[in-house]
């Protein structure tokens, strides 16, 4: 029995079983995709659902081609993407900076604690009208919406992670006489990278919410505007087109964050 033990062969079988599992998962993923869109199309054509309200994939696709040809889609998409990416970056960066300030001064953190709780509990999109009045109806207030929606929660999560760094790592540097800046740069920040990455992932979704709501309110251009406009003229195909584009862009942004994660967290492999 023992003589028959062929390790290479077993390893080959093991690799094959992994590959097989992977293929199976991928198969079901594609199946769900096809069934969903196929059913949607058929249901719409056979009037199981109201085609006026629920549209159909073929109609969405045709509208997509039309809008690409007249150039209006690209414009709106670019505006929204620009606002979202900027809002996302500003919100996250500002959150990390405020968290760093709170870490720097424990007293400041104690003073601001109740205000952070209040600001975090408040629904940020409710600030929309005030932002528009204050910053105008341009993209500035929409970017502000995209940023403001994520900044407080980022601050809280990152600050918590700063505080949870194992004191012994700090002690190692303190024994070399490190100052606070060195401790922040060499211990606090790098050990919080995993927390920062996971907030980035959450913030991708949040900044899309902020920007779309902002565009609802401002109603000038962008995918949020297309949704509101489609609603007003009862063009639900336009709404579905915008939704699908948002889903694709948000996914791409999320993938971007994962790429950053692999670059930033070197020891995780």
């Amino acid at each position: 029995m023992k003589q028959n033990l062929n390790i290479n062969n077993l390893h080959h079988l093991y690799l094959q079983s992994i590959k097989k599992e992977k293929r199976l998962v991928r198969f079901y993923q594609i199946l769900i995709f096809i069934v969903f869109f196929g059913f949607w199309e058929i249901a719409s054509r056979s009037h199981w659902i109201d085609p006026l309200i629920f549209s159909a994939p073929s109609k969405v696709w045709n509208l997509f081609l039309d809008k690409i040809n007249d150039g209006s889609l690209f414009n709106n998409l670019a505006v929204t993407l620009f606002e979202t990416v900027l809002g996302f970056i500003i919100g996250t960066a500002l959150g990390v900076i405020i968290a760093a300030l709170l870490w720097w001064s424990e007293r400041l953190s104690n003073i601001l604690d109740p205000y952070l709780v209040i600001l975090n509990a408040m629904p940020k999109v409710a600030l929309g009208p005030i932002l528009i009045v204050a910053l105008g109806t341009g993209y500035v207030s929409i970017i502000a919406m995209g940023a403001i929606i994520s900044v407080i929660i980022t601050t809280i999560v990152i600050y918590t992670s700063f505080k949870e760094v194992d004191y012994n790592y700090i002690k190692v540097l303190q024994t070399f006489g490190a100052n606070r800046k060195q401790i922040f740069r060499d211990v606090i920040l790098p050990s919080s990278f995993p927390a920062i990455i996971s907030t980035l992932k959450v913030n991708v979704g949040l900044s899309w919410v902020g920007v779309i709501v902002g565009e609802f309110l401002v109603s000038k251009q962008g995918l949020g505007y297309l949704i509101i406009y489609g609603f007003q003229v009862f063009n639900f195909t336009l709404i579905f087109l915008s939704l699908l584009l948002i889903a694709i862009c948000a996914t791409l942004m999320y993938q971007g964050v994962e790429l950053l994660e692999r670059k930033l967290i070197k020891d995780s492999k």
Partner: protein, 259 residues
């Protein structure tokens, strides 16, 4: 004048509803090149005392002098080794062992080379580019020793550095540390609750009592035991003799009525 002198140290910890006297009237002097151990049950303030010597903690009362100068803040005179390696997981071994030099702004081609040579000497050749995760516990603690020695400290503070290792690795590392410190003529203070380790490694042992931490007794390790490596010292006939004495003394401290 002694190399390191600790004078009348008292330390009290405050919390909202209690005060705890961690150290009481600790005075001791250490000569250059000496290896001493602070031995005591957990909660006797050993680590507090080390932190005070390292300048990480300001004592409630008393002072620590190195070559007659008062220490205010941690600086290059002192190297500290913790219970676990605490190598930064996101840095390579090379980056980890050079971190002290970088913090102190002493990284030159020369100090860099010296540190990397030390890494090789300690038996960690070829792991420079590896991450701590890829190394065994013993290897990591050795890398931590290199990190501590890199800045060329005069005094080494060892805070139970072998306690997280398995027994075999611990014995090997004791020999290595002892040998390395002798070679570079470092003064060292070891904190431990392991009687055998204290006897095997040190020249003198300070026995600390519990809450508040006080020096209960000092043991001088005989010359012929000191000259052995820690591993051989454990086999020495006199070893069990001293072990017995310290054991009894510790036992007395334990049974001492609480006040």
């Amino acid at each position: 004048m002694s190399f390191l002198s600790i004078k009348d140290i008292y330390h009290v910890y405050f919390t909202k509803d209690s005060t705890t006297t961690a150290l009481e009237d600790i005075s001791l002097t250490i000569e250059e090149g000496e290896f001493i151990s602070l031995l005591g049950p957990s909660g006797c303030g050993k680590t507090t005392l080390l932190s005070i010597i390292a300048g990480l903690l300001k004592p409630t009362y008393g002072e620590v002098l190195i070559e007659g100068k008062k220490i205010e803040k941690a600086k290059s005179d002192i190297g500290y080794m913790l219970q676990q390696d605490y190598l930064f997981p996101w840095k390579t071994i090379e980056e980890n062992i050079l971190v002290g030099l970088q913090i102190m702004n002493q990284e030159t081609e020369q100090t860099r080379k010296k540190t990397l040579d030390l890494l090789e000497e300690i038996g960690l050749k070829g792991v420079e580019k590896a991450y701590p995760k890829q190394l065994s516990g013993g290897m990591r603690q050795r890398a931590a020793l290199v990190r501590t020695l890199a800045t060329n400290p005069k005094i080494l503070l060892l805070d139970e550095p072998f306690s997280a290792l398995d027994f075999q690795t611990k014995l090997k590392l004791e020999d290595l540390v002892s040998e390395t410190l002798k070679e570079y003529q470092k003064t060292a203070i070891l904190v431990t609750h392991d009687i055998g380790e204290a006897i095997a490694m040190s020249d003198r042992i300070f026995l600390l009592s519990k809450r508040p931490g006080k020096i209960a007794k000092v043991f001088d390790i005989p010359e012929n035991l000191r000259n052995e490596t820690p591993f051989d010292a454990r086999q020495h006939p006199e070893y069990s003799n001293i072990f017995q004495q310290i054991w009894e003394e510790l036992d007395k401290l334990e049974t001492k009525p609480e006040h």
